[in-house]
Symmetry: D3
Subunit: 336 residues, 6 copies
């Protein structure tokens, strides 16, 4: 079905050197008959060797990865690398241009649309092109996320257990190389027969080793997290033998977690957090209060965690509606 | 002109005890003929004594003060206080309900609309009611702000120099009592003839001693800043003799600053900060980069500060347009 | 200031016969440079005699009057009348075209904008044109309203007490002629020095005898109320000597009321009415319940009337926000 | 496919007692990553016995059923019933919260989306959950509707003829128990192989006996229709043996109708009705006039009914566009 | 699948004479339960003979065809024609009423939705009805387009090469009869097995001989192009033997072109064209400049054509975004 | 009042050389506290001599002037000129960025807002800054317009008769230098006491000699008109002695007209023009037809011109509403 895509690519991915251009997603609108949506794509290639696909902006309001890939585009000299680095700094470009999680063109949440549809909405066409054209070219994929506008995460690597021992080892190598403070290790899924609608599911279906990262959030770039991101990406390239001239500094080590679940508001109002990221959470503990500002004399309601562990993510917006996640709880993979 | 207001008050401000109700701002709409916009108002009174007016939500997306005043509404027992505490937790209620800086009803930025207009927009009617009815009742006013959705401030008290020596002393007393890490001291304005369109301007015109506070931002509540806010408000009440049973803990001290100015983006794009709040800024230094994500091969542009000092505030949103403030620079009032 | 209006009139109001055209309100927009907003105007004139101005659509979603004036436009033969009937079936035409209480062009509630402004928004220009050009031409004005989208009224005439005994008599004559089931008689205002921002205020300032009518509501035409409206208007013309060939049927009589006030929701939710129009209300009685549909196990809140009397109007929309009027209470002018 | 649903339920439907919670429809948005849409669900259970599913808010602006189910939630004591009552007072909760017929999240008209899709839009996920999880648990289903914002119906039960004689008898028992003034009896459809995209179609496919009701409309609650609704629901529970302590009052009787069809406007304008609900309609008769308010001198156009019978429903909005139904005509099932 | 359509037709297409009515597309909305979207349809028939289907408004903002078909509706006397002319002046009526390329109801670009879906969105239902009901009735189809709001075309016929020699001859006959200045001849596609999602694809799948025309654009009617359009349509009817009384004037001749491709902006800004329609374009030539108005001191960027030929179409809007087509280049089918 | 403006200027207008920067209009929004709207400003100065102010983008969708001023910014070498050229290529920058006639920030039509308000909306602040700061610096002002999105004009100079003989001569010199095909000469207004709310009114009040130009329209740049514009501006600078090195080519001559008035649609629908720009119009002649596309069998209505002359401007949009200008008629100032 790969040949079915209506998306074309401005640049020749088989050519050596640094090339930047657009993936052209046909999109005919009132203000643009015969036009296309342009997704910036960068290829930096130097002969044979591993191919790594770096994606950011799958959710448009997750910015650290977008800045990191723009910086790598200029920083990585073709002659300094081995193999090929393909960069997509704004994978769902309409969402990224608008600063929104989902596409303003079709409402699509790209990370819920794989394997996509070559004749569907622009977001579905993008998912299909990645699943059938770009990801199959790669050996390794790194998909850069963050908490976006509504959540904050500490710098956290996300990965599965691997489809087999060899992939498990590669995943651990990537985790060690990226060297972020936390890793969220999935306890299920991840095989070649994955039905997940995420980019990582697409990688798994294609047999491409894939890690994700959550790199802050709140709809803004954190300087220090961005530095950790760029450091990690250079270390990953070096660990894969793709950046031989790089000298990595000593690793800081990573705390491995399993997710317990998210905790949600059951009343609308103003959210006052009682627990910070990294703090211990007991089952039955209140993660925060929801104030009824219209009636300040009424007692606020508590948002009770049914889970025990530590707080891995927290809400980055002051107001909550019923059903909004105010936090995510995780426990140590290897409890002390 | 006070008698001109079309706003009425649900509760009797002259009565002792704790009372909560609404200020009723007449507003006739397609879905509500003969309706009103309700601004929650709380009066906690115990006989004669000082009257303090506490306002939050003048900008609707500044939340720490809103939560603090909702908490004080329930915490302050009438019998524990002397005088009267009047609380307006959502001063521009339509903006606060919508989580917006400005009113979705009329676009009004309430802190630019004083002295208001009794026959104008709802925001102008609110400004007029404060200027002519509520503020004249008060001896002291504390107006709680934060950076809102687009900026972050560290906990900072704002004040003028005082219209005279007595007020200067009262302002210093309030600053010492609030005990926030920073104080931004205005070097001009503030007299009885002020033409400022802010709530503080209204207080100055009425001869009411007024301080403001910037308490975080980013459109979200910070737990630790909220704790400093509540601690400060209790200390202020105690310092004014209004909360005699309270025992304040030792003060931390406040660093006094004068503002130099804001620094603005001159290109649109993704903003990568290079300086954090509290760090030193040299004149000519870049506060950050603006990435052109459509053309990642183009160099980002720098946002140069013409000012020297420290960074007092920074942008809390990832994307910038031409003219957006990416930071505010201030210098020590008493340089070492 | 009358000569200041930028509004021009398509038809010659001094000419005999039936003429229809537009009042042209200059309005230059992105899609219409040098264009105007057209307000249909009709003049039916037969020599000297009284001039009556009939207005509908001052609020755009109040439809009975609009249909009645469209019908009268075709029904009234110039040769059958004495004097002049001027009809404005869509006084705030942008609002009426959109089916909204207020103008989608400028948000204006026309009945709160008199005396208007010849250089202001379109709604303000319309108010000014009525106040300075059309109303001064008239001897009598009838302004047709209803509850609009958010309220229902039974057929009710509204009037003041008259600036003097002669006008009081004329107002009573108009009330008796219109012969609606209810009359809401204002106990204040109405003199030549009125500062009211309503069309009736404009009439009072011009010394033009004016009645209003509330003719149903709910954003829809009631067949039987429309019939009462047309019957009343024909009877009014006959009573003024302007429709000599008409033979009125016997009067039904009118119950005179004084308004007590509106009763408002203090919680948002789904409103369940407990009292119907015309039923007796005791002070302290609940006019209805507000259900919290998100938490159906929580008890609904009551909307308590502080007033005693009968229910004159009730809300015509299922959902309520804080501050929405759920009903209006009035008492008999001459209690039994 | 039932196991496929991504919707989870807060409460245990197999437990005795009264339980309220949310159905959680996963929905990840710009302001709520990892969030869900909450549909209130109530279970009132007392041991074995019939299971009845009561739904309201399938169309969000149909309110009588929503208020009735909120009231029953609190009124029905678990110990007073036999079997289980499952209540969904806001079946398409996003539409109901917004007061709209269709969902503001995805535009979905829930009653046109069955059998739904477990990976589709929120509205499609809800339809699928009802079709595969909730409806199969039930013996009887009552789906409460009204004319919504654009139509008015008198209190009317809707039912098919039954898939077989036993179901026909059960349907007649439900009709007699509900005891509304009218019943609209479908002359086709309704079997186990139904392809209808309605909730009733889903019930038919599951072999669940189902009636609907139209209970007013106009986007507002009618007090007397709400009383008839609650009376009818209590009578239905009693007739099914689920509310043994209830003593029904004598029945009023129901007039059975078959639908002829809807009648539509062919011009846009202001609609003036000429026929009221319950009145006789001749084929070729005008149901009303459409006024061209821009040109009041032009004759209005008639909306001609091609059908004979009585008027069962009428439009509840003043303005019409081409294609809007201005009324529905039905004839007596057993003509005199 | 034809019988599956939920669209019904007001008029009897098998009857002789001139009939106008609506295709009724069921569409139930918040403001119109049980309503439909009306697509005007006209049938002018005089006994047996060829059936021609004339469509305009497939894109709602392409107006010349819409005016031409409205004019033909009144001009063509049934007694003057042989066979049947079916006219759809607003094929995607919601888009045409709104003056938009795509439907405001569902966002659908009708000419990308064939073969449609009988249970899909309104636009998909329309496509399906044409594909399965209207087009199969026709022998010949003429689909009238223009550049719409964003492009300008000179009067240009569009056609394929024909599925076989007989159709090739019919297509040439239609081209010669229409006699527009240009013809854009497709070099591929067009067979009975077409998978194209256009109306022409639907015609090809049905074995109906079909031509399109591009007739100006810019979202406005050009008087002279409209005259050429009407002249061409009369000539086509005459050439098919359907308008025997017509005497065509001498032909002007048509220049045949093959398309090379569209040329797109790679920067956003204000577009200054350097080449006009009909002028020669060299490969590598700039078609225009994109000005950065925020920084007028920066040099504008060129939009380079990779193609040689003549400029067939150009952008009709001043501002461009990345990916907007600023022109289309074509070459002579038979180069001199 | 000049000192009252809150607008500041990035560049020093008193300095020699070419300088580009922003006028900073303070504008505090939800996404930009302490931000400003940037209006690009350019100063090119070489010692003493005349000061000319060139403005474009007073209406944001009028593009020829914007492109011309961007081009002049780069083309005019400071050493080649005498005196000072101040360029404002996007005078109402928010409107120009959005491609709208009026500002999306405040709805303001800048050319109806002079003399502005230093504390008003951004558009009013801009008007005030021009009226009190920039225009008083100038000797001559040229304000570049076009028909915008809704109208087309041929290249036309606009001017008054001059406040006195000297200014009349200067205006004629500017007209002859600009050398456009048409000139629209105003027969009234223009004195020092002008109350006009236009930029030209502001120039008149300041005693600054001012001409305007209408340079096409339709929301797009015409290549040939842009060339005439640049040619004219260079000739004007040369004629004023400011561009001594320029050698103007021979003049083409200008046809002088007086305006009769605009002609407006009285029905909504699709507009078919019958008269082209430059053609003769008789009083009573139809300028075009308005088609009722919903009822193509109904005759279109004519738009009758009450004026005789030639057509100077015509509508550039296909659809019309009641009150839209479909054309403007003018007569020769010196009839043959």
């Amino acid at each position: 079905m790969a040949g079915d895509s209506m998306i074309s690519c401005d640049i020749d991915l088989a050519e050596d050197g640094r090339h930047t251009g657009f993936l052209r997603v046909p999109h005919s609108t009132h203000v643009s008959a015969y036009g296309w949506i342009g997704l910036p794509i960068v290829s930096i290639r130097n002969g044979g060797g591993p191919v790594i696909l770096l994606t950011a902006g799958v959710h448009g309001d997750e910015y650290e990865g977008q800045a990191a890939l723009a910086t790598l585009t200029r920083e990585l000299a073709p002659e300094a690398i081995r193999g090929q680095v393909i960069l997509l700094p704004m994978t769902n470009a309409p969402a990224a241009r608008a600063g929104l999680r989902t596409s303003p063109v079709d409402g699509g949440n790209l990370n819920r649309l794989f394997p996509g549809n070559p004749r569907g909405t622009p977001s579905e066409m993008i998912a299909h092109y990645l699943e059938t054209v770009l990801i199959p070219r790669a050996d390794v994929m790194v998909d850069l996320h963050s908490g976006g506008s509504s959540l904050w995460y500490p710098p956290t690597l996300l990965r599965g257990g691997g489809a087999n021992a060899a992939e498990a080892a590669r995943l651990r190598l990537l985790q060690d190389a990226f060297d972020l403070p936390y890793a969220w290790v999935f306890t299920g899924g991840g095989g070649r027969g994955s039905t997940a609608r995420t980019a990582m599911g697409a990688a798994n279906r294609n047999g491409v080793t894939c890690v994700m990262a959550e790199l802050g959030g709140g709809g803004v770039i954190d300087r220090d997290i961005l530095a950790l991101t760029l450091r990690g990406l250079r270390r990953v390239l070096h660990a894969l033998g793709m950046l031989p001239g790089h000298t990595p500094d000593p690793a800081n080590g990573t705390r491995e977690l399993h997710a317990e679940g998210s905790v949600h508001a059951r009343d609308a109002g103003l959210f006052e957090p009682l627990v910070e990221i990294g703090e211990t959470v007991r089952a039955g503990q209140s993660l925060g209060l929801v104030h009824d500002r219209d009636h300040p004399d009424r007692a606020p309601s508590d948002v009770i965690s049914p889970f025990a562990g530590i707080l891995l993510a927290k809400r980055a917006m002051g107001l909550v509606e019923i059903g909004d996640a105010v936090g995510q709880v995780a426990r140590d993979a290897d409890p002390p």
